[in-house]
Symmetry: C2
Subunit: 177 residues, 2 copies
């Protein structure tokens, strides 16, 4: 049964993969990972950006990391998150108000790799200037992403405060900062 | 390998289960199913309900049905969807505008069972009057849910027009109505 477990949980196949020049390879199967939450036009600044062009953000985490988090309230090495940003639309089909999701705006990643990154966590934008790339170089360790996640995230560098099912786990396991 | 495949895809374990008096048993693992999309305060009526109490709706489908849809653009018998509705909040942690997800408001299901339901598809609300139940009786075949889904959904009785990744599949497989 060990083999079966390895196949199911994907411990090997879903680990972050890097090119020889240290670019993260964009995972193509993340829509089959575990969904954590969606937000609409969330903004951490004073200036809202809701009115002009609303966007959804969908957050997914690799399944074996999710299972580890359920058991421990912490993230194992090689954890990977994908942030998928999509245009929000109001008028379409029978929908008359509120918002539903349309085309992709951007795909970004957060990766925990303790041996590769001094800060343990790194951030990648696969879609700079609106074009989707297959690989991308992680931001430097003092990037705005690193600084904000390290300062404000609820569990290690991850915004568990915005993922309702994980927030319950972290509270139960006492792993909230 | 057949046994392994059955374990992975969950063909048996995730089929809709009913009590002896024909109530659908609420699946408890749906957050580990395939996420299709989220909307915010979507409304099909003239009257918007966004302003007073915004809500997110998250849609999940059982993984083996999802895999079948990727291959065919159609839903196999025993397909089950879960609609999870959650309160939307603006001010919390570092968020200053836009919306993120909080506690559950309601959990509903859509089930395809060709032998059990004359209309093939049935609709269930596990949370009438705001209380979450472990089982619930499907609505009658002429319910508002049945009528609206049968009339307006893009693929069979399902609102694929609001699920961007599935919409591409249905377009490619020519299964849109």
């Amino acid at each position: 049964m060990l083999f079966v477990f390895a196949v199911v949980s994907g411990f090997t196949s879903n680990d972050p993969r890097f090119t020889p020049d240290n670019e993260l390879i964009r995972p193509t199967n993340y829509r089959e990972w575990i969904f954590l939450s969606s937000g609409l036009s969330m903004s951490y600044g004073i200036q809202p950006h809701m009115a002009d062009k609303p966007e959804f953000d969908n957050v997914f985490v690799e399944p074996s990391a999710y299972k580890a988090f359920l058991a421990t309230g912490k993230w194992p090495d090689k954890t990977m998150f994908i942030l998928e940003i999509r245009f929000a639309e109001t008028h379409g089909s029978i929908n008359k108000s509120g918002y539903f999701q349309r085309d992709i705006v951007a795909i970004e990643a957060e990766v925990k790799d303790e041996s590769r990154f001094k800060e343990k966590w790194a951030y990648v934008d696969f879609s700079p200037a609106g074009k989707l790339h297959d690989t991308a170089k992680p931001f430097a360790g003092d990037s705005a992403c690193n600084v904000c996640h390290a300062k404000n995230a609820a569990v290690e560098n991850t915004f568990v405060q915005f993922y309702p099912t994980l927030l319950e786990i972290a509270q139960a396991k006492h792993t909230l900062r």
